[in-house]
């Protein structure tokens, strides 16, 4: 099962989503419906970072 996990690609996609969400934060400064929903997206992305991106270095060394 582990061999099926392409961690590098997953991390790359998460980083792409994060940069998109951060850009939306900048665009949504006067747009509460965008800004506040985007806070939730960023928080979910943070959980993906904790779960996945933070392990990138350790996983590669395995």
């Amino acid at each position: 099962m582990k061999s099926k996990i392409d961690l590098k690609q997953i991390v790359s996609k998460i980083q792409l989503m994060k940069s998109t969400a951060e850009e939306l934060s900048r665009l949504g400064q006067n747009f509460p419906a965008l800004a506040r929903n985007n806070v939730r997206i960023l928080v979910s992305l943070k959980m993906m970072e904790i779960n996945i991106c933070d392990l990138m270095d350790l996983y590669q060394e395995k």
Partner: protein, 444 residues
């Protein structure tokens, strides 16, 4: 064939332990720096101790960081930034949720969380529920009073997150909750061991419903040690014909440990999210080997609004010497949380853990689930009064039950008790954390 992935996080939960240690060290440095740089409260403590984030290079350096206690939080709260005081590490407007501790050991401590912290709570619980076999097909009934205490709030949202259908059983009374479980054919629930046992009693004795014939197949317990005490776990499992799993967490810490489906006689520490150390109760020296009990010093490695850095939880635990057959690489604590350092006390010169009394009482067939322990003094001598209820079906064997209880207590705790047999359902019933152990000597 069951094709569910066994782990919530297949990478992290199978990470070799030396890699977990690397991750913990990296994260500890980060949260320690965060607390130092964002909280006057933390900075002063660390400056006074002569340590700063640049001093943490290896695991041994972590042990130089002073521990924090709940009483220190009480001293700084109810002041600006109101009501959290200077332990708060984020702007007040970033605080999304207020909780407070139950106040069992004194004035409640307030706990602020940001949205990120709250999502992190849910994430911790997602690990727990997945490990205990919760899946999207489950219908989860949550019978607790949704309020200022964190209790099962995060369990609720984690169950939603992993895809379960959640039934919030908040403002219903016990009978209505049982009827709702029956009506909706709920498959899982969460509660304190005391309340889950009480629900079974209510179903049987007041509603004529056999809880083992309902559809609950798994129960997650928290708030008390009960689900890790073998005789209490057996009573719970027999009553509901369900697997019962323990979990430990705390408002100011997070959801840090859980029993998995293997029920290995202990709980996994979620070591990627928490750094757990065990300190000798007398000397404070860190215990690394299995089999020696001490109090838990814990760091929540990702919690930001009010960080939990080397918090002296006073929970008494010990490392297990075996790994778990489930394949998770995180360490187990043997027998779950054994008790609180505050409650484990010397009586007649013998160290007594209230959980040992519970194990005996609930291991005797003729006794009810409830009991009460009162320790006081007669002259200069300690006395332990134990109140128990004999079940109606065992009333004609009252003497035999009492003798067996006295024998087992002497065998398991090396102490003699003044046993009082009470009428059925006369001892207090509890909906949340039970207070069955009273040490009146502490008032002296």
């Amino acid at each position: 064939m069951n094709t569910d992935p066994p782990f919530w996080n297949p990478i992290l939960e199978s990470l070799p332990i030396e890699k977990v240690r690397q991750l913990q060290l990296k994260k500890f440095k980060s949260i320690f720096r965060w607390a130092y740089e964002h909280s006057k409260f933390h900075r002063k403590i660390y400056d006074d101790a002569g340590i700063n984030p640049g001093d943490i290079h290896a695991f041994d350096d972590i042990r130089r960081v002073p521990t924090l206690e709940k009483s220190m939080m009480r001293d700084i709260q109810r002041k600006a930034p109101f009501p959290y005081g200077h332990a708060l590490c984020v702007p007040l407007e970033d605080v999304a949720i207020f909780r407070q501790t139950s106040g069992t050991t004194g004035q409640p401590v307030y706990q602020p969380d940001t949205w990120q912290d709250w999502e992190w709570w849910m994430e911790c619980w997602s690990y727990i529920l997945w490990a205990q076999g919760y899946r999207p097909r489950d219908r989860v009934f949550i019978p607790f009073g949704y309020n200022i205490f964190v209790a099962f709030w995060a369990g609720h949202y984690a169950a939603e997150k992993i895809g379960c259908e959640v039934i919030p059983g908040g403002a219903l009374d016990t009978k209505a909750r049982i009827l709702k479980i029956e009506e909706l054919q709920a498959t899982a629930m969460m509660g304190t061991p005391t309340y889950i046992l009480g629900m079974a009693e209510t179903a049987r004795n007041k509603m004529g419903i056999d809880p083992s014939e309902l559809t609950i197949n798994k129960i997650t317990c928290a708030g008390e040690c009960g689900a890790s005490i073998p005789s209490t776990k057996k009573r719970l499992e027999d009553a509901w014909k369900a697997k019962v799993f323990d979990h430990a967490g705390a408002t100011e810490i997070g959801a840090w440990s859980f029993e998995c489906q293997e029920q290995p006689g202990g709980m996994h520490v979620n070591e990627a999210f928490f750094l757990v150390e065990i300190a000798d109760v007398e000397t404070g020296q860190i215990i690394t080997e299995p089999g020696r009990r001490g109090k838990m010093i814990i760091t929540a490695l990702d919690r930001q609004a009010q960080p939990c850095v080397r918090f002296d939880s006073k929970d008494v635990i010990e490392w297990a010497d075996e790994s778990c057959p489930c394949g998770r690489t995180s360490r187990l604590i043997k027998g779950g949380v054994i008790g609180r350092a505050d409650d484990i006390t010397k009586v007649k010169g013998v160290l007594l853990a209230p959980s040992a009394i519970e194990e005996v009482v609930r291991g005797i067939d003729g006794l009810g689930d409830e009991y009460e322990v009162i320790v006081d003094k007669v002259g200069d001598t300690d006395r332990i009064k134990l109140k128990v209820e004999v079940l109606p079906e065992a009333q004609d064997q009252c003497r035999l039950v009492e003798d067996e209880l006295a024998d087992q207590l002497r065998l398991k705790t090396n102490l003699r008790y003044d046993i009082e047999i009470c009428g059925c359902e006369t001892l207090p019933r509890y909906e949340a954390k039970a207070k069955r152990f009273k040490d009146l000597r502490k008032k002296d």
